[in-house]
Symmetry: C2
Subunit: 277 residues, 2 copies
Amino acid sequence: MRNLNQDNITQAVIARLAATPDPRLKDIMTALVQHLHAFAREVKLTEAEWFKGIEFLTATGHMCTETRQEFILLSDVLGLSMLTVAMNNDKPAGCTEATVFGPFYVAGAPHYENGDDVANGASGKPCRVSGSVRGLNGEPVANATVEVWQADDEGHYDVQKPELGHAQARGVLHSRADGSFDFRTIVAEAYPIPTDGPVGALLTATKRHPWRPAHLHFMIQAEGYETLITHVFRDGDPYLDSDAVFGVRQSLIADWASQPDGGTQLNYDFVLNPVAA
Amino acid sequence: MRNLNQDNITQAVIARLAATPDPRLKDIMTALVQHLHAFAREVKLTEAEWFKGIEFLTATGHMCTETRQEFILLSDVLGLSMLTVAMNNDKPAGCTEATVFGPFYVAGAPHYENGDDVANGASGKPCRVSGSVRGLNGEPVANATVEVWQADDEGHYDVQKPELGHAQARGVLHSRADGSFDFRTIVAEAYPIPTDGPVGALLTATKRHPWRPAHLHFMIQAEGYETLITHVFRDGDPYLDSDAVFGVRQSLIADWASQPDGGTQLNYDFVLNPVAA
C-alpha cells in the first residue's frame, strides 16, 4: 500500500479496519472514515485549514474539565446531539418527548423531599413546580427518580461557579405513590451558552447567537420504563424558535403561570415509555 | 424552528450558518454538518455511542500538550492527514513528493553547520546524510532551510522524553551555494507510534499495528519555492506496505547504504516546486 492518492486512500484506510473484532465498531469506523474523507474532498481542505481544525479540536479538549464539557457543547451547536436524540427516541404517541442532555448535568446531586426548595440559594424569582409521572396507559409511576437542574437568573449553572462548592438549583426527588411530585426552585430564564471557549468563537465566526430559551432539565428514571431525558421550556420565550442547540419541541413548552399571591407555578405531567418486554 | 426530527434537522442547522461572513468558513461548516449528520444517520448512532465519542474526543484533547499532538495522530491513523497532503501537493512530475507532517515536529530546533552531528547524543548507529536542493529546472537552490527530525533507535523522538531538556536528532541546516548539504545523525529505524493514549486504544480495538517504517523527516523552505514537507523512507523496511499513517511513496524510498568503513550513508536529492508567478 504505497503511493496512496486522494482517490484510493479511503479504501486503503477502510481495508485496514478489516480485522476489527467488534462488528459494530467496524461499521462505525468504516462509515466515519468514508464521511470524514468525503467532507475533506468536497471542500478540498487545505493544509492550513486542516491545521486550524487540529487546533480547534485541541482547544476544545483543553476546555473540558470535570464540570465543563465543551465537546458536548460543540455537538449541541452542530445539531448532532439533537439528531442523535431524535433517532433514538421514537416513542409511541402520548409519551413525553426527549431532548438534548446538555453539558451541565453532573452526577451526585443532593436528594430532596417533595416540597423542598432545590434552589438552595440560587438567585432568581421563586417558583413552585408540580407534576406527575405516569406510564403510557395512564398508570401512576411511584418512586420514580426525578432529577432536575437549571441555570440561575444570571444564566449560570452551579457547576459554572467553582467557588460555590455546593449544588444549587439541582436535585433528586422521588415521585409519590400516586406518581405526583412537587418542589420549589427559581423561575427558569433564557441564557447564553458559554461563549468563552472554542464553541463560542465558532458561534461568533458564524454570526450565530448563543441563547437558549428558558428551560428546566428533567431526567426521570423508573424500573420498567425507558429513561426520559428532557427539558420543559417556558412559553413566550423569545428564543423558542432559534434555540442555539436545536432542542425545542412544541409538546415540551409549558406555562410558568403567575399566581394571585405574586408567585409562579409550573405544572407538567410526564409520560414514560414502558421498556419492551 | 421547533420539533426538528432526523429528517429536517440538518437543513435547520445549515440555515443557521447563513449569515457567516467568511464564505469559505460557511462552505466548510455547511459541508461538515452535512457529512457529520450523514455519518450519524448511516450508522444510526445510539446515545451511548455518541457519549463514547464525546469521551474519546475529550481524552484525545487531554492527551495533547506542547510536545504531544494526539489529534494529529488521530488524523494520521484515519488517513485524513495523507488525504489532505495528497489533495494539496499535486506537483509537476520531477518534484519531490510530500508526505505527512506527523505529530513530532517542534519549532525552534537548534541550527547546525553542514557536516555537524544533529544526533546530539541520541542513541543509534551513526549515519551520514548528504543531498541537494534543486528547483524543477535543475537549478541549485542556495541557502534553503533544511530542517530534519527523526526518532532514535528506541523509537522515540526527543520531545517524547521530557526529562531530556534539549533537542536530539533534530536540527536546522542550510544548503550551500551549489544546493548541497550534509550532516551526521543516526540510522532511522522503524518504530511504533505512541500507543499509550486514545489513538493507541483505537488501534488495539481495530487490531491495527502501530508501526511506521523507518524514515527521516525533512521540511525544506526556500524563497520562490513551495515549502516541501516530506520523509525519506528506508528501503527494505518490513512496514513500507503497512505504514500506520499511510504515508509511504515509492519515490521517497532510499538506500541507507552500508559503507566499507562500517558506517552508513544516505543520499537523497530534493526537487522543489517553484511558486507560481
